[in-house]
Amino acid sequence: MTNAPLLQVRNLRVEFGRRTAVHDVNFDLFAAEAVGLVGESGAGKSTVARALLRLLSPEQGSVELGGVDLLKCPPAEMRAQRRDLQIVFQDPLASLNPRMTVGDAIAEPLVIFEPQLTAAARRGKVAAMLERVGLTADMASRYPHEFSGGQCQRIGIARAVVLKPNLLVCDEAVSSLDVSIQGQIINLLLDLQQEMGMAILFISHNLAVVRHLSHRVLVMYLGKLVEVASCEALFAAPVHPYTRALLAAVPRIPPVADAPAPLPDRTLAADSITHGCAFRDRCPYALPLCESSDPPLLEITAGRWVACHRSHETLNPLSYAE
């Protein structure tokens, strides 16, 4: 990917009162790229996504889409930009209006952004979209409660991609689905991405799902990116101790005989960390340096960024024994 990035995020910072939820985050997204964003709850994953779409107002930073800083866009222009930025949420039923037929829900973006379409043309597009996501055209007149969770998620996806956005954010979009349905939805997203060439930012706490559908992975810890790498590299050899602990915590089938002890709880309150590495209280490799100085996110090999003072060392397998 040598061409210019589709989206450039620079020094993004979001604060909720005294708490900094997103801490000077920088990354690029390229056209047609699938990027996974992982981390525990509270890491700031969804906050990053919402800031990109300007569903909340960041304190600082820029989000450039095709040379335009979305965070400085006047409202009218922002509205026009939104057709290129779409999102699918975790709870498929809650993200659909219960009093709107699914046909109307999918047609709504067309009404707003393509007002020149006749009603018949719009109906045709909605029918085609329903069929594209694996439903049938006659379902357009039904209401969300008549559908299962997996079907509602298909409807949510249909509405998000009907305008062929450049970026689709999937915020835990398959997390509430059963495993047999999860694969169907992921394949649908992959197919749509290929057809439409859109970038996907895939937020998930399910690392195995991220592994199968991402080109690159961003790992967040307490508001900061701690590791960014190609998917292959990250899962083959995670560098940051937090990434390593996250991967080690996933139960395997069949189970691993000598699984490492679970990561201990945080002992530092998130809003009390003013300096040093935020992960040091749980890190088996922490040094005195980690308390005094905040490790910057550095490119240690081509395309691989890690924020850890010890990223250049070969660290022993994880062990929390003390």
Binding site: S41, I181, Q184, L247, P251
Partner: protein, 319 residues
């Protein structure tokens, strides 16, 4: 040997506008002392209803038939006074959402001590100090201070550990854990799994672990039950079931679990169709419409759960 829990031909159904809705149909199972039985199935497969029936916690609208014996004593139809002697002491259950399971306006210490005051006849003071020791053993730091906190002051992982502590206070013979880690991050999940493993080691209790996550089940279970559309379709020792599933549903489900090792896939393996919706008319074998091995017989004759006790499968054409 008397089974810790023995369920025979249990049926749970609810009235529904399309007729009766069968949540659990003809389920029979035994859980032996000290055994960990994993129960897997998709949403709506009846795994929770089965164990809510065992706890006597089904809604009043539910119609239940069959037999549920705990340490030899029939629980189904037993008086509340009889149930209340075992529930919360020797037979305990924890749920997915610990916030919903804790009383929001009572301090943690009160809620924990109450169990011992009610079941073991301890004084409140003794109850509180036993509660503090139990919080310690589930690795809640600063246990004594936690006793005077309210549930909202704790994190999700901490609350689930409080629930676990509460369920262990009277040294249960059987703990039913219904999706205990589903709402938690993978790092917290690993902690709770470790605590469940430790609790089994210390108390020798049996554990029924309900989850849709085969990884969690695989890590803890000695034996696995697979449920589909209200019925138990496979029952086998965990390593065998994971290595060589015999029911096509189990096999397909295992294929669908995304893996952290092996080659990355261009497409995810999927199971065609979707699980039956409430009230949907089922074929003789409910899995037949999604089954790669289904034949005419599967649509007319229901396969019974049969085979050796540790390797049962309900399929006309098992793998």
């Amino acid at each position: 040997m008397v089974a810790t829990l023995s369920i025979d031909d249990l049926n749970v159904s609810f009235a529904h506008r399309t007729g009766r809705l069968e949540a659990v149909a003809g389920a029979s199972l035994r859980i032996e002392p000290q055994e960990c039985v994993g129960v897997v199935g998709e949403s709506g497969s009846g795994k929770t209803q089965l164990f809510l029936a065992a706890m006597g916690l089904l809604t009043r609208q539910a119609q239940v038939s069959g037999s549920i014996r705990f340490a030899g004593n029939e629980l189904l139809g037993a008086k509340a006074a009889v149930l209340n002697r075992v529930r919360g002491s020797k037979l305990t259950m924890i749920f997915q959402d610990p916030m919903a399971s804790l009383t929001p306006h009572l301090r943690i210490g009160t809620q924990l001590a109450e169990v011992l005051v009610y079941h073991s006849g301890l004084s409140w003071k003794e109850g509180r100090s036993a509660a503090a020791r139990m919080l310690d053993s589930v690795r809640i730091p600063d246990a004594t201070r936690r006793l005077s906190q309210y549930p909202y002051e704790l994190s999700g992982g901490m609350r689930q550990r409080v629930m676990l502590a509460m369920s262990l206070l009277c040294k249960p013979d059987l703990l039913i854990a219904d999706e205990p880690t589903t709402a938690l991050d993978v790092t917290l999940q690993a902690q709770i799994m470790e605590l469940l493993r430790a609790a089994r080691g210390e108390t020798g209790m049996a554990l029924a672990l309900i989850s849709h996550d085969l990884g969690v089940i695989a890590a803890l279970a000695d034996r696995i039950l697979v449920m589909y559309a209200g019925r138990i379709v496979e029952n086998a020792a965990a390593p065998e079931l994971l290595r060589r599933p015999r029911h096509p549903y189990t096999a397909e489900l295992l294929k669908c679990v995304p893996s952290l090792s092996g080659p990355r896939l261009a497409r995810m393996p999927t199971l065609a169709g979707q699980p039956p919706q409430p009230g949907e008319a089922l074929q003789a074998c409910a899995f037949a419409p999604r089954c790669p091995r289904a034949a005419a017989r599967c649509r007319v004759e229901r396969p019974a759960l049969g085979g050796a006790p540790m390797s049962q499968v309900a399929c006309h054409f098992p793998l």
